[in-house]
Amino acid sequence: MSVATESAKPGQPTVRTRVARPGLLSRIWANRISYIFIGPFLITFVLFILVPVVVAIGLSFFSFNAISMPKFIGWDNFLAILSQDRIFLQYAIPNTFKFALIVGPGGYMMSFFLAWLINQLPKGVRDWFTLAIYAPSLASGVAFAVVWPVIFSGDRVGYLNNLLLNWGILDQPVLWLQDPKYFMYIMIGISLWASMGVGFLAMLAGLQTVNKELYEAGAIDGISNRLQEIFYLTIPAIKPQMLFGAVMAVVGTLKAGAIGAILAGSPITPQYSGHLMINHIDDFAIIRYELGYAAALSVLLLLLVYGATKLSFQLFGSKEDE
């Protein structure tokens, strides 16, 4: 993963030590003020991010039910997941890929495209559209848990049913949230609706910093239409923001998976139609108390997230310090 860290900046606050090449300990002591500054962050970071990930990796090799002592079983959890867990193989994996591939890249491309469109408009009206497109991402989660069951209600009183019946598209009401045929699509729809979040704002802000002269120079160099402009000028110019947006899209997609449990009212969706890896983890961790098994699932999910992030870095990261 290529991560840019700037080279030494002038005007450092470090107290210059008299020794020509001081040892590590004395350098650390000389910079104690810096460690005090990052200390609180580092402590919470280690406690709530690093340790949980390490513990998850460790636990994944144990059989642990939260009561008796953990028992080391090697790769057995992973073997069981990949060979015997029918629900995982039949529902969680295909569902997760379907959901992630549509909501992740789909939401990301929508974010970029809408940010670009808004940026084409005159300045005075941009704020209104930004608010309108961004607001749904504020409305995800529990606050709107009341809205979806009412809109997608399965009887004639349901708003969607009523609308479609009136328009003659349906001839009888559909049980939107109970029918496995539709459940996944509703999850995807709501997640896409709410996917213009932080990444969208980052790309929009990035677009506003692009120098206008770049486009004039591009026009002279033979760029003739807006599509060429996007691919040859705009995207390279806001690559760093595109990368930030991509990372946020990966994390956002994982978080968006919670919508299934909200719609169904339990971690288990109708006939596993919206069963994602995250639900599978919750099922084993919170309902069945098979913590080792759940940890092994977590590790697989983290690997998936890591892979997706790495791909984003390869697409949009700066190459020079690789």
Partner: protein, 302 residues
């Protein structure tokens, strides 16, 4: 009635004026404007819906055929929420208080901790600084949902289970906030700090007198993002708190809405509390939209 007409006309006029004032509006911009307008209206439908639903009297909530727009708006649902739940073991106001308290403490904590770390990452060079910052970038992709159980074990072992700290401390570790702040602090010229240092200013003074004031847009952004995350998360109430009186508002919403499709009794109350959850998010963003975008311009990972 007359004033209403005037008001709608005036707002229409101002939008039209802003539109006309923009020079050289070409056909592409016209089509984009129309297309975005349609999309924005479509996307706003669920939001318009919750605003209407929360103000519907009980007979309108279950009207057939259902009406999207409220006919006779009433505060009945909000009154029920505040008064009826007052007789329950844990009244609604208790959840609201818990949420307000823990969310504001979380915001203060994240802002303090993140801006301190950001300043050191940006302007100090010390052994391990690059490594720790690389780790922070790496952690941008971290999602606590994936490791809920190990986090539970950590929280149980440091002894903050069933305290308000369990709502706050796990959220203090915010790599995204540190990253956004650091990118913003990078913009402050080093000469500014150097001059202060020559005048004998200590690091803390520089941090509070120079860095923090310059970084207000970034602080506003971090505050908003933290608020959004903390205000609506159910993780801490679900997992780390067993005492009912210490759980937060989103948890209460969840208990109201679970299985709502079958249970129609609490729908008005649920809509009201959903609106109460949503509106602060909207208002805070509305107020500081410009500052957020100013911060986000520096959000790129180079």
């Amino acid at each position: 009635m007359k004033t209403l007409q005037m008001m709608t006309r005036r707002s229409g006029v101002s939008l039209a004026r802003a539109w006309r004032k923009a020079k050289a509006v070409d056909w592409f911009q016209r089509i984009t404007f129309l297309g975005l307008l349609l999309l924005a209206v479509f996307m706003a439908l669920p939001i318009i819906f919750i605003f209407n639903h929360a103000f519907k009297p009980i007979n309108e909530l279950f009207l057939y055929p259902p009406r999207f727009i409220v006919q006779e708006p009433t505060l009945e649902n909000f009154r029920d929420l505040f008064l009826k739940t007052q007789s329950l073991v844990i009244p609604f106001t208790r959840y609201l208080f818990n949420s307000l308290l823990t969310t504001s403490l979380t915001m203060i904590g994240v802002i303090g901790v993140s801006s301190m770390a950001a300043y050191a990452f940006s302007k100090h060079v010390f052994p391990g600084s690059k490594f720790f910052f690389a780790l922070t970038i790496f952690a941008l992709m971290f999602a606590p949902e994936a490791v809920a159980i190990p986090r539970y074990l950590v929280i149980a072992n440091i002894g903050i289970m069933n305290t308000y700290f369990a709502h706050i401390i796990p959220l203090i570790a915010a790599p995204t906030s540190v990253f956004l702040m650091k990118q913003f602090v990078d913009q402050i010229p080093n000469e500014l700090m150097e001059a202060a240092r020559i005048d004998g200013a200590k690091e803390w003074l520089i941090f509070f007198r120079i860095v923090m004031p310059v970084c207000t847009p970034a602080i506003a952004t971090v505050a908003i993002l933290t608020f959004q995350g903390a205000w609506s998360q159910t993780e801490t109430s679900n997992l780390y708190i067993q005492v009912e009186s210490m759980k937060t508002l989103p948890y209460y919403v969840m208990t109201l809405t679970n299985g709502l499709a079958n249970n129609v009794v609490g729908q008005g109350i649920a809509a009201a509390v959903g609106l109460i959850m949503f509106v602060p998010n909207l208002i805070i963003f509305l107020v500081s939209q410009r500052r957020v975008l100013a911060t986000m311009a520096h959000s790129g990972i180079k």
